[in-house]
């Protein structure tokens, strides 16, 4: 298969001469070790940064690193390496690469892989493996990682021969980013890393992907969709992660503007459609504003664009948008009719499908439906906590709202999982794609800090903020040390309420305020930052929020702010798990605010 275009020139590479960068990989065959082939192939694929942690079974790869123009970020835990590669991929749209050793190094990657799998993030993760001669013998630090990760990877390889490395890596990149993206794992035995083989980057190119026969956009289905859109009186576009994965922002915007269709976003879809656009409704689902979910429930046509009708978005399925016809534009055929039965399925790349659909649709100017939705906002918008005067309490919503104002909505925000994540989605208005990085599908606590490191490295010129709760932050707080070592200029806002807040909220609503194991003691986060040589501050008053955020932005280098917020605050509105979208728990009314305590914020004492 692999033909040498010219005779092998040398037996071993010397010094830095070998690798070539970017898109001009070596044309000729060269003799390299498996480890060198790995790096040369990564470089050929355009990789200049990897996140990893060395160990016994991956040492040949680390030994060869010095010969290649690749920046290696040493992490503090392999989960962090995968989250960093994930954050890197989400912020840049490129494939992220993480490296770990065999055994515990590999198993530590599992949560990161699952996070990327559920959110369709293109990653290539490389693990060392014991020598092929002892595979399956329970050798030291041996674990069957391709077996362990089977359900949480898009594909995986066990490579035992050096000549198989380049084709596997090149195919892995193709698989990771093609179709519905996802993580690919390559398990490299130590003997494959050390042995020598011919290397020819061009010859190692993967074969063209097989045609997916179920991915089809039938012309009559396009006509049918156009017909439904033309006839709809109350349409809503449901914009998901696919909008940015496909790069379909312009097409979605054209569709919305041309026919005056309001756009509701999923959590991962935030930013794909500008939040301040007059047609933007905001986030749908469990913690979506009432008018968003009401619009969906009352609509007569849902145009689902690159989203998968997750249970956090639909609530109870039998009562979901009962009057609406549904058009599902989706690249993954397995998502069609999975949760919600649809009337028209257009299975393909979102941007391409919309390009076919748009010429069939002519402009509409008047939309009574839009006015109806705006009227339905009513006092729900007035109840917004940001309209509440300073009453001496510090609320997370205030912090995030102020952060949005001070950063002019232009920062990349990386959130963890829990109450603060939902407040961020409600109060930070994202105008552009890839400006919100969050673990949606898996809901991985501990994601924010490492993912933000990846995002900052992918986009060094962008302002990056971590927003994390006191619980999730402690899951991966060790990566503060990575930030210090790399001297990364990113800012951290810890929303500290002394509870595992979302757990506490569910316990308050559904478990009679039995706060079992949800109060959590934390270290002084500002002092923890200082222990890492990172500047920090602790904020307790609303008036101090803006000065602290400004200070963090001014300082070149990392900065941590510990926001000690109201302890028993809840995210409103909320649709209880399994309830219908319109059966929401509303925000307590602000009109009774003059009575004794603040009714927007329920405390444990409230009934």
């Amino acid at each position: 298969m692999r033909e040498a275009k010219e005779p092998a020139i040398q037996s071993r590479p010397k010094g830095t001469a070998k690798p070539q960068t970017g898109n001009t990989p070596a044309q000729s065959t060269t003799r390299l070790t498996g480890a060198e082939i790995l790096w040369a192939t990564l470089v050929g694929e355009g990789i200049d940064t990897v996140f990893g942690y060395p160990g016994g079974a991956i040492l040949p790869v680390y030994d060869a690193l010095r010969k290649f123009p690749v920046r290696h970020i040493l992490v503090r835990h392999e989960q962090g390496a995968v989250h960093m590669a994930d954050g890197y991929a989400r912020a840049s749209g490129k494939v992220g690469v993480a490296i770990a050793t065999s055994g515990p190094g590999a198993t530590n990657m599992v949560t990161g892989l699952a996070t990327a799998m559920l959110d369709s993030i293109p990653l290539v993760c490389i693990t060392g493996q014991v020598s092929s001669k002892v595979l399956g013998s329970d050798a030291f630090q041996e674990v069957d990682i391709t077996g362990v990760t089977l359900p949480v990877t898009k594909h995986s390889y066990l490579v035992t021969r050096p000549e198989d490395i380049a084709p596997a890596v090149r195919e892995a990149f193709l698989i990771a980013r093609s179709g519905r993206p996802g993580p690919v794992l390559i398990d490299l035995t130590k003997d494959a890393q050390a042995a020598i083989a011919d290397f020819d980057f061009e010859a190692a190119a993967a074969e063209a992907r097989r045609h997916h026969p179920m991915r089809s956009v039938a012309p009559d289905a396009i006509q049918q969709a156009a017909e439904l859109i033309r006839n709809a009186k109350r349409p809503v576009i449901l914009a998901g992660h696919g909008v940015m994965q496909s790069g379909a922002e312009e097409q979605v915007r054209t569709l919305a503007e041309r026919l005056q269709i309001p756009v509701a976003s999923t959590l991962l879809g935030l930013g794909g459609f500008p939040a301040t656009h007059p047609l933007s409704l905001g986030m749908m689902g469990m913690h979506g504003e009432s008018w968003v979910n009401e619009a969906i429930q009352n609509s007569d046509l849902l145009i689902a664009a690159g989203m998968r009708f997750d249970d956090r978005v639909t609530g109870a399925l039998p009562t979901y948008a009962p009057k609406a016809k549904k058009i599902h534009i989706e690249i993954d055929p397995a998502e069609i009719n999975k949760n919600v039965k649809v009337d028209v399925a257009l299975i393909g790349d979102l941007a391409e499908v919309l390009e076919q659909l748009l010429p069939l649709l002519s402009a509409r100017t008047d939309s009574p439906w839009l006015r109806q939705i705006n009227e339905s906002k009513g006092d729900a918008a007035v109840r917004d906590i940001t309209n509440l005067p300073d009453n001496g309490h510090l609320y997370a919503a205030h912090v995030i709202h102020d952060l949005w104002r001070v950063t002019d909505g232009k920062a990349i925000i990386v959130t963890d999982v829990g109450q603060h994540q939902m407040w961020e989605a409600q109060y930070y208005k994202h105008e552009t794609s890839r400006s919100l990085i969050t673990s949606g599908g898996l809901g991985t606590m501990g994601f924010a800090l490492p993912a933000a490191i990846g995002a900052k490295i992918a986009c060094p010129d962008r302002e990056v903020w971590v927003i994390a709760g006191d619980g999730g932050f402690q899951m991966t707080a060790c990566e503060l040390s990575t930030i210090a070592q790399e001297n990364l200029d990113l800012n951290i806002a810890v929303i500290n309420n002394g509870y595992l807040g979302m757990v506490r909220q569910w316990q308050e609503f559904f478990y009679e305020k039995n706060y079992a194991a949800s109060p959590i003691l934390s270290p002084d986060f500002a002092m923890l930052a200082q222990a890492h040589g990172i500047a920090g501050a602790t904020i307790q008053q609303r008036a101090q929020v803006v000065p602290a955020v400004s200070e963090a932005r001014k300082l070149k280098g990392p900065y941590l702010i510990n926001f000690q917020v109201e302890k028993e605050d809840s995210v409103y509105p909320m649709i209880p798990s399994g309830a219908a979208l319109h059966e929401l728990i509303r925000r307590p009314s602000v009109t009774t605010a003059h009575l004794g305590h603040n009714p927007i914020i329920e405390t444990a004492e409230d009934q």
Binding site: P151, K154, A334, N337
Partner: protein, 198 residues
């Protein structure tokens, strides 16, 4: 209901695990799976029979296509095809009690492939119901079945025929176009068909 999928897959280590794991993840029981060679080198053919809801076919097929090692998938449940299963059946039989088994084997167009003083072995090829029919008749006539080994269903789509040929072959579902009673009956695992030929 029973679904039958034919999947052409790459002949590589771990592919069977990936396919099986998909059904495990969907909490669907695999009734039978047969794997073997094809007309193409490096490509194996799997016939998977799985018990799942009538609407699950599309999702299973789409999920199979998500596996990188899967090249082609065919959901043959509702299509006219030739279905076969191979069974080896060991029956307790002495010199005195053999002869009626010989007769049964003749009627079912099966073969005796091993003869021992205490037992004999029957080889039989056919649709599942035919094999089950023989097993039932053996049981009813008081013969003790010692061992049964069945390969599970193999299917292949029929070629293009004129309608008269199809009629002559009594292809299930041809006349009633679509949901055929005879095929549904054949798909029913408990169905007992004692007619010898199919």
């Amino acid at each position: 209901m029973l679904h039958t999928f034919v999947a052409l897959v790459e002949d590589k280590p771990g592919v069977l695990t990936r396919v099986a794991s998909l059904f495990r993840r969907l909490n669907i029981n695999i009734v039978s799976v047969t794997v073997g060679g094809t007309e193409r080198t490096g490509v194996s053919r799997m016939t998977i029979v799985a018990d799942a809801s009538p609407t699950a076919g599309h999702r299973i097929m789409a999920s199979l296509y998500k596996l990188e090692n899967v090249l082609e998938v065919d959901d043959v449940g509702q299509l006219s095809c030739v279905t076969r299963e191979l069974a080896l059946i060991k029956v307790a039989a002495t010199v005195q009690t053999r002869s009626h088994i010989f007769e049964l084997v003749e009627v079912f167009r099966a073969r005796i492939v091993d003869l021992a003083p205490e037992s004999l072995m029957i080889e039989m090829t056919g649709v599942e119901s035919k094999i089950e029919g023989l097993i039932q008749v053996l049981t009813e006539s008081g013969d003790e079945i010692l061992e049964v080994s069945r390969t599970g269903r193999m299917v292949m789509r029929r070629g293009q025929h004129t309608s008269r040929v199809l009629q002559a072959m009594r292809v299930p579902g041809y006349e009633s176009s679509g949901s055929s009673q005879s095929e549904d009956a054949a798909l029913e695992p408990d169905a007992v068909h004692t007619q010898p030929a199919d």
